[in-house]
């Protein structure tokens, strides 16, 4: 009996591996599997961490003594700008994405993420964007205006070289990857879980990542918008930030910190999620205060969007507004404390054991609590007036980011390395490495608080001996080098573990989450069959569940037509809802990312004629993705094992791709709202308003344009209701209306705002018209795509997913377009000389 079962398990393993596996050699470039891509993200971010760390060593070498001749000020500015940029955008965020991509399907009981090709595309965007920045560093033209790129220093007047363009384009390229990952993670957590896993039964790490991915959807768009506007100002002279032409440098600061502060929590929360996962394991009991922790992280996410101004206390805003932001900043301490005390309670009600990951948890407590306390100090406005922009802030942010991110992620690395390699670490090196990092870190940064209070500003490449900062800086530099040795030892430790660690096939930590219910290292398909969850998913028994699943006794313990299948559930209850068929390995993500890279390179090289070609190329490749999706025949419910049936996702109203469009549009709406906010902000705050030569817009023409946009949207949306009943007429009419609207918007942009390089009012109107025109043009593509799918037999009354996804775009375009046209008239009325203001 047992032997027979093993034989079935082995046969199933062979069949699944064949379907899910990645081909060898160059075929690896076509991999879309989340385990492979997750590891690529993790390793690549590790390499960037090493490069960023070496840059930090250069900084510490420079500052070790006063009047150091090591680097000149120009090189030094590239080094500190790239240190910050690499650590924030090329290390921290991608490492989080990597862990989430690797772990989430395994924690949630799925075989992959919802959009495997998007995972791969995101990785390539990250890699190519990162290489753009590194290439610039090697060529000596790296960004040099500080990692938050304050304009006018980063404007074309004060930074005429390509340095700032490299930052704006390279970072935006990398952010495409972050937004892709955010959509993918949100949808995967909400839809791709094991049946029975309601939201309230999710492992706590999934809650953290759900909140983080949601935050990424709303935090990145303001920065992407800011980067686009600043690049457009640099490249084409549209003045969004130039105070002499109605722009305002403060707009950049608002957009940057509207991203930048949530960013800190986007980095901290996954690390806290790691702690909420690890601490229960090493306490030997489930997390205490699961509900309180979920409430705390949601509260933190909301608060983090109300804090950005605390980076801007020095710009001269009203004291009452500052008091509000000060209070909000201090209040963040509460949800943080709730999590910390939940962890302490979990430990005290368990049987805590010390091991290497717990050593890093200790490091986290020690370092992060100090960082949190100095954070509360900085939230106090009077104190910030002294400490802002000094080395005190440098010390604080390293306490928060290294304490709140690097230490937990090293704990995570030690904890999940056995999962990734199937081997157990050699412990002696690990402990020595920890103590080197811990002591080196505190030596470097504890004294740095004092250096700052003694008056040393950030970002100075030299200082006078009389300032009295020599000893403190030398101590910091020595500490920094000790810490570097520690990190080198960690690297060596990982290599040794990978090469020589003893094999340890299952659940070495006695954890109670699903990712350990599989053989290690994990098979490409994760689970030979999918579990059914009847309790909170941090209380399962991996050994028994693993054997059960490997024998194919759960859901989908078989293969069908060589398809890659996993299950989708309803969002809150976790009830089985649909059978999701995933696309297989493909080179298309790589080609699409290369086309995207050609767009960014054309922008960087100022080959503007090539930019539209690159955009069409990207569109062409993306359309190519649809060739393997969908079906030409209605299928109906299929058996998924465990005596249950489910419809394929293409016939399900809540298909993952439909939700992906919802979240993409939410993110897109944030970008648009930031643009409209920018217009209003300039009207209230920028010098040089009202504008002397406002754009002239005929009300009748605008009404015609708005009507055309609305008609295109309404027709496109209505077509989705007619799937299977000749939707083509509606779609063609919609496409015609959208194309007409695009032409009308283009005409308005070119003829209605002649002064677009002369004043920000015109520049903002121009940007809104371009945004609307871009959307109507894409809406026409959606409509024509619908015609194509209908003509080729992919649409029926049951299989209307393509049209329903298009419907979302049509509706959004209609609302955004009409709103944009109305907003332009409002802004012109308020913001022009002789107007209402």
């Amino acid at each position: 009996m047992n032997g027979e079962r093993n034989e079935t398990a082995l046969a199933l393993h062979r069949k699944l591996s064949e379907i899910w596996g990645t081909p060898p050699g160059l075929g690896r470039l076509s991999a879309v599997n989340h385990t492979a891509i997750g590891l690529r993200f993790i390793v690549t971010s590790g390499i960037f961490f090493a490069i960023g760390g070496l840059l930090a060593m250069l900084i510490r070498a420079q500052l070790a003594t006063s009047a150091s001749p090591f680097m000149d000020e120009g090189l030094y500015s590239q080094v500190f700008t790239m240190h910050g940029t690499i650590m924030m955008f090329l290390f921290a965020i991608p490492l989080i994405e990597g862990f989430a991509i690797y772990l989430l399907p395994k924690l949630l009981g799925a075989r992959d993420l919802a959009f495997p090709r998007l995972t791969a595309f995101g990785y390539w965007c990250y890699l190519f964007g990162g290489l753009m920045l590194l290439g610039a560093l090697a060529a000596g033209v790296a960004p040099d205006a500080g990692w938050f790129m304050y304009t006018p220093l980063s404007s074309s007047v004060h930074s005429p070289g390509i340095n700032s363009d490299v930052w704006l384009l390279g970072v935006t390229f990398v952010e495409i990857s972050a937004v892709c990952a955010a959509v993918e993670i949100t949808v995967s957590i909400l839809k791709l879980r094991a049946p029975g896993m309601s939201l309230a039964r999710m492992p706590i790490f999934a809650w953290y990542m759900l909140v983080v991915a949601g935050m990424m959807l709303f935090a990145f768009p303001p920065l992407i918008l800011g980067s686009i506007l600043l690049e457009v100002e640099r490249a084409f002279g549209l003045p969004f930030f130039d105070p002499e032409r109605g722009g305002d440098p403060l707009l950049w600061q608002h957009l940057f910190w509207l991203f930048g502060h949530p960013e800190v929590y986007i980095i901290f929360l996954p690390a806290a999620g790691v702690l909420s996962t690890l601490i229960p394991v090493f306490a030997g009991r489930p997390l205490i205060g699961y509900g309180a922790v979920v409430a705390a992280i949601i509260a933190m996410a909301f608060l983090s969007f109300g804090l950005w101004v605390h980076h801007m206390y020095m710009v001269g805003i009203s004291h009452l507004a500052m008091a509000f932001f000060s209070a909000a900043s201090a209040l963040v301490a509460v949800p943080t404390a709730i999590q910390i005390f939940s962890w302490l309670a979990t430990l005290t009600y368990g049987r805590p054991r010390f091991s290497v990951p717990m050593l890093y948890v200790f490091g986290f407590f020690f370092v992060f609590v100090i960082g949190g306390l100095t954070g509360v100090m900085l939230a106090m406005m009077p104190f910030d007036k002294q400490a802002h922009d000094t080395h005190f802030v440098v010390a604080h942010l390293h306490y928060v980011l290294i304490g709140g991110f690097v230490f937990p992620m090293l704990a995570a690395a030690y904890y999940w390395m056995p999962h990734m390699t199937g081997r157990f670490p050699v412990q002696h090196l690990s402990r020595a490495a920890f103590w080197l990092i811990f002591i080196g870190f505190n030596v470097t940064f504890l004294v740095m608080h004092l250096t700052g209070l003694l008056g040393m500003p950030r970002r100075v490449h030299t200082y006078a001996a009389e300032a009295g900062w020599d000893t403190l800086n030398l101590v910091s530099s020595i500490g920094g080098f000790v810490m570097t040795f520690g990190f080198a030892l960690v690297l060596l430790d990982f290599v040794l573990q990978y090469r020589y660690g003893r094999a340890f096939p299952r659940n070495p930590w006695k954890a109670a989450t699903l990712e350990w219910a599989m053989p290690l290292p994990p098979p490409v398909y994760n689970f030979a069959s999918l579990p059914s969850i009847d309790r909170r998913a941090d209380r399962i028994a991996p050994r028994e569940t693993g054997a059960h699943l490997a024998a194919g006794r759960g859901y989908l313990g078989f293969v069908r037509n060589g398809q890659m299948e996993t299950l989708g559930v309803s969002i809150t209850s976790g009830r089985l809802e649909q059978l999701i068929v995933l696309p297989n390995n493909s080179f298309l993500p790589l080609w699409t990312a290369l086309a995207t890279a050609s767009f960014f390179i054309a922008m960087l090289a100022k080959l503007y004629w090539a930019v539209p070609i690159a955009m069409l190329l990207v569109l062409f490749f993306f359309l190519g993705w649809t060739r393997v999706t969908g079906s030409r025949a209605d299928c109906g419910a299929l058996s998924v094992g465990e005596d249950e049936d489910a419809v394929p996702h293409a016939e399900c109203s809540g298909a993952p791709s439909w939700w992906a469009m919802v979240f993409t549009l939410a993110s897109n709406a944030t970008l648009y709202a930031s643009l409209l906010f920018g217009g209003l902000f300039l009207w209230t705050s920028a010098p040089g308003w009202p504008a002397q030569e406002p754009p002239g817009m005929s009300l009748a023409f605008s009404a015609l344009t708005a009507g055309m946009i609305a008609a295109g949207g309404a027709l496109g949306a209505a077509a989705a209701r007619r799937a299977g009943r000749a939707p083509r007429t509606f779609l063609l009419a919609s496409a015609a209306a959208h194309l007409t609207a695009t032409l009308l918007l283009g005409w308005m942009a070119l003829n209605g705002v002649p002064d677009r390089t002369g004043h920000a009012l015109s520049a903002v109107c121009f940007a809104i018209l371009c945004y609307a025109g871009f959307h109507t043009a894409l809406a026409a593509v959606f409509a024509l795509y619908g015609v194509w799918r209908d003509a080729t037999g992919f649409i029926s009354q049951r299989r209307d997913l393509d049209l329903r996804i298009g419907r979302l775009w049509h509706l959004y375009t209609a609302v955004a377009g009409v709103l944009g046209v109305a907003f332009i008239h409002l802004l012109i009325a308020m913001g022009s000389a002789g107007g209402a203001s």
Binding site: E244, P249, H319, I340, L344, A345, T348, I370, M377, D389
Partner: protein
Amino acid sequence: MFRQGGTFLGALALAGCSGDLSALDPAGPAARDIARLWWAMLAGSALLFLLVMGLFALVMLRPEAGRRWSPRAWIVGGGILMPVPVLFVLLLFAFGQGERHLPWRGEHNPVRIEARAHMWFWEFHYLDYPDVEPTVDVLHIPANYDVDVIATSDNVIHGFWVPRLGGKVDATPGHETLVRLYADRAGSFGGICAEYCGTGHAGMTFRVEAHTPAAFRAALGLGEEETE
């Protein structure tokens, strides 16, 4: 004995904190209040840090000792009841202090000076004395008198900061920002640009010379003050 020891330690700490640009070596009321706030917050933070680390040690080494408090008591007590009052008091105190040093407070008209930031030097215009030539990288102020500095720039963003006299403020093109300085003794104080402003950032230092009233007029090249 203890008192002497305390004085000695205090003196040592002060020696470590002195410096031309030290925010912990205040020479005016705004900087002094902020330095006091810092020392108070440092003491409070040290206590909270020791408390959390003590609890961590307790739950790791003697977990059963922590079970005298219920899980709810841990979370509500540590997560809400402990931080909320501390934060409330701190916020009120800091808000009051911020309010006290706002530029619009004061019985008499302050001396008004415009600090124009260039790449990379400071130019000070004495708005109350239109005939006085602007000075470069040296700012003359009267001691024991409110001085309002209006910072601005026509190039990139800079930061005006005289650590021993008070907090800093950005000099942003297109905007004017205000900071109040007050030196409670005559003397020379260091100033430095706080916001990164390009390759000349580190060298963008200046001096504030605080004078007695007569010396102030002399420094600006004004005659003896006429009796009113």
